[in-house]
């Protein structure tokens, strides 16, 4: 266990400021100096990811999904919960959820059910959210991600996180707080947009692991086209459930951390929270089961205004929606069913694009580059295509091209604040490479 722990998060001190490495588990130095406690408290992290489905219309209504639009202009009568309106499920959202489930090795439930989750808030006009709590569309998956470890951060360590379930649910509207006039302005453009909630098991132990897992998930969703994964635009929202315990003992009380706007903030917020909880326990106090918000300016988590104690959502089956049935293959379709009414898992499985993990392995195999370089290539949008285009026109060794790409090209683009897709075309490229003959 200790050996595994030391491999987990080496050089964590680089990521975390102000945290004493002695009590944080993610340690490159394997072992102990004499301590008062015989066993160290370790962090346990479980993530809940809400990914906005990349579709033209919302989950249950035919209004448009767009990032910025005049307030309340993308709202249908159903989204505003006017009486007499009913939900009609969007086929694209079901296909997106099935695709994501297949990419994450989940079991797709042939029959899934919708439920209502009740709570009162101004941005939820109906007073309930339609979600899939009892029987979601996909369960029991795995997300494989990699960390760069070892002394030079060149060793690729593969880890997996179990995915408990993927469910379809509605998004709520947006509320803008006007503290000056003591009011909240409500924009329902986002209300009703389809979300995939991915619930992960608490298999991770520090911020670096969580950040790597989320980054990999982002790449997978972007490759599938089911979510654009832009955290700053709110297309993918991550909440972390953090607790600490001594290995082997039952899990500690967890706190939920919200308001995380980027992958880097995620790592910092989790590490701060783990350290905070360890300090609370070392002082002899107990950790509260509460919701905390991450403040990126101070790097701390602050308790959110406690709503009304523990929420009771009074889950009930959604009476307006029959069970959702997806079919395994064309043979299992009932007779007389319209093709546009059927979601066939087999067809979706065949149409899955190349996932990032597979792409990296292929690059290593085909070009003989180092695994950590394949990470750099896949991480940057459009860089793989660029690299492959360069490899077609040049006679240089792949490793040399990689060196140029990672050092010169990326540095150059960062300076000019451009992305790979905007950089010069192939013809200029081969001349540029020939200029670099001396390497």
């Amino acid at each position: 266990m200790n050996k595994q722990m030391s491999m987990l998060c080496p050089k964590a001190s680089r990521v975390i400021r102000r945290i004493s490495t002695s009590s944080l588990r993610c340690d490159s130095q394997p072992q102990p100096r004499a301590k008062s406690a015989p066993q160290q408290l370790v962090g346990v992290v479980g993530l809940e990811v809400h990914a906005q489905i990349n579709s033209n219309t919302k989950l249950f209504s035919g209004s448009s999904v767009r990032f910025s639009a005049p307030p309340n202009s993308l709202v249908s009568f159903f989204d505003a919960s006017l009486p007499g309106t009913l939900p009609v499920l969007n086929k694209r959202c079901v296909e997106a959820a099935v695709m994501t489930g297949l990419a994450l090795n989940c079991t797709i439930n042939r029959k899934s059910l919708f439920d209502r989750k009740h709570y009162f808030y101004a941005d939820l006009p109906s007073g309930y959210q339609i979600t899939q709590q009892r029987q979601p569309i996909a369960v029991d998956g795995t997300l494989t991600y990699s960390l760069l470890g070892g002394t030079k951060r060149s060793q690729v360590i593969r880890k997996t996180v179990n995915i408990k379930q993927i469910q379809l649910e509605q998004d709520s509207g947006k509320s803008l707080h006007d503290d000056l006039r003591s009011q909240t302005l409500i924009d329902l453009n986002r209300a009703g947009v389809g979300l995939m909630e991915l619930v992960m098991e608490p298999d991770m132990s520090c911020g670096e692991e969580a950040a790597a897992a989320v980054r990999e998930l982002q790449l997978i969703l972007q490759a599938l086209g089911t979510c654009q994964g832009n955290m700053s635009e709110g297309q993918m929202r991550v909440d972390a459930n953090v607790s600490v315990h001594k290995p082997g003992e039952p899990l500690g009380i967890r706190a939920e951390v919200k308001n995380i706007n980027s992958v880097r903030c995620l790592a910092r917020a989790i590490d701060y929270e783990i350290q905070r909880q360890i300090e609370v326990l070392q002082r002899g106090q107990t950790v509260q089961n509460e919701t905390r918000a991450y403040d990126s300016k101070s790097g701390e988590t602050i308790p959110m205004r406690d709503k009304e104690g523990l929420q009771d959502y009074r889950f009930m089956p959604e009476p307006n929606l029959p069970p959702l049935i997806v079919y395994e293959d064309n043979a299992s379709l009932p007779t007389g069913i319209d093709a546009c009414q059927a979601v066939v898992v087999h067809k979706i499985r065949e149409g899955l694009p190349e996932l990032p993990g597979v792409k990296r392995d292929r690059l290593v195999q085909t070009y003989g580059i180092l695994p950590e370089h394949s990470f750099t290539l896949v991480n940057e949008d459009g860089l793989v295509e660029y690299f492959e285009a360069v490899m077609k026109v040049t006679k240089k060794e792949p490793r040399k091209v990689i060196g140029w790409v990672t050092n010169e090209l990326l540095g150059h683009l960062k300076e000019k604040d451009m992305s790979v897709s905007h950089s010069p075309s192939d013809s200029k490229l081969s001349s540029r490479i020939d200029e670099r003959r001396n390497w």
Partner: protein, 169 residues
């Protein structure tokens, strides 16, 4: 089977049947009409029996803090002791369901369970009615709906009683 009973089964009302019956049988006798009544499936006396108390689980007493929680979550108002009694009676009535043996039976959660869920194509057909929606709200600011800064907590029981003292309900 007599013509009249066939007609009755088809849903024709007695008013229509009687003159027709006169036409057919040449008699306005009420014996024909009586056989309509005697073939009804409705029993003359009640045949169900109330479930004996012994078969029901012990009566549930709803504690005061649970009542407060329900009032807060569902925004219902049990108001007086009478309201609470009504709640407990309703729970007792539902307790009769415990007598039914449901082992090995899948619970039904929707009357639509044998219907197909209709899937919609991903084309934009609605929206763009901001003006109409905003007109529904009393208080709007520049195309936004206005709400109080947070949820307004439900007043305590004493405060509610004071507020509603002069209410007619």
């Amino acid at each position: 089977m007599s013509v009249i009973s066939i007609a009755a089964k088809r849903g024709l009302s007695l008013k229509i049947i009687r003159p027709w019956c006169n036409l057919l049988t040449n008699s306005a006798s009420s014996t024909r009409v009586t056989c309509l009544w005697s073939s009804t499936k409705v029993p003359e006396a009640a045949t169900w029996e109330p479930v004996p108390e012994s078969q029901l689980p012990p009566p549930v007493q709803v504690p005061a803090d649970l009542v407060d929680k329900l009032e807060r979550l569902a925004l219902v108002d049990f108001r007086t002791k009478q309201g609470l009694d009504c709640l407990e009676k309703a729970i007792r009535f539902a307790d009769q369901l415990h007598v039914v043996d449901t082992s090995g039976v899948e619970p039904m959660d929707s009357v639509l369970e044998d219907r197909a869920l209709n899937l919609r194509g991903d084309a934009v057909v609605e929206g763009d009615c901001a003006e109409e929606l905003l007109q529904l709200s009393k208080n709007t600011v520049e195309e936004y709906f206005v709400a109080p800064p947070g949820n307004i907590p439900l007043p305590t029981r004493e405060e509610r009683t004071a507020m509603l003292k002069h209410s007619e309900f």
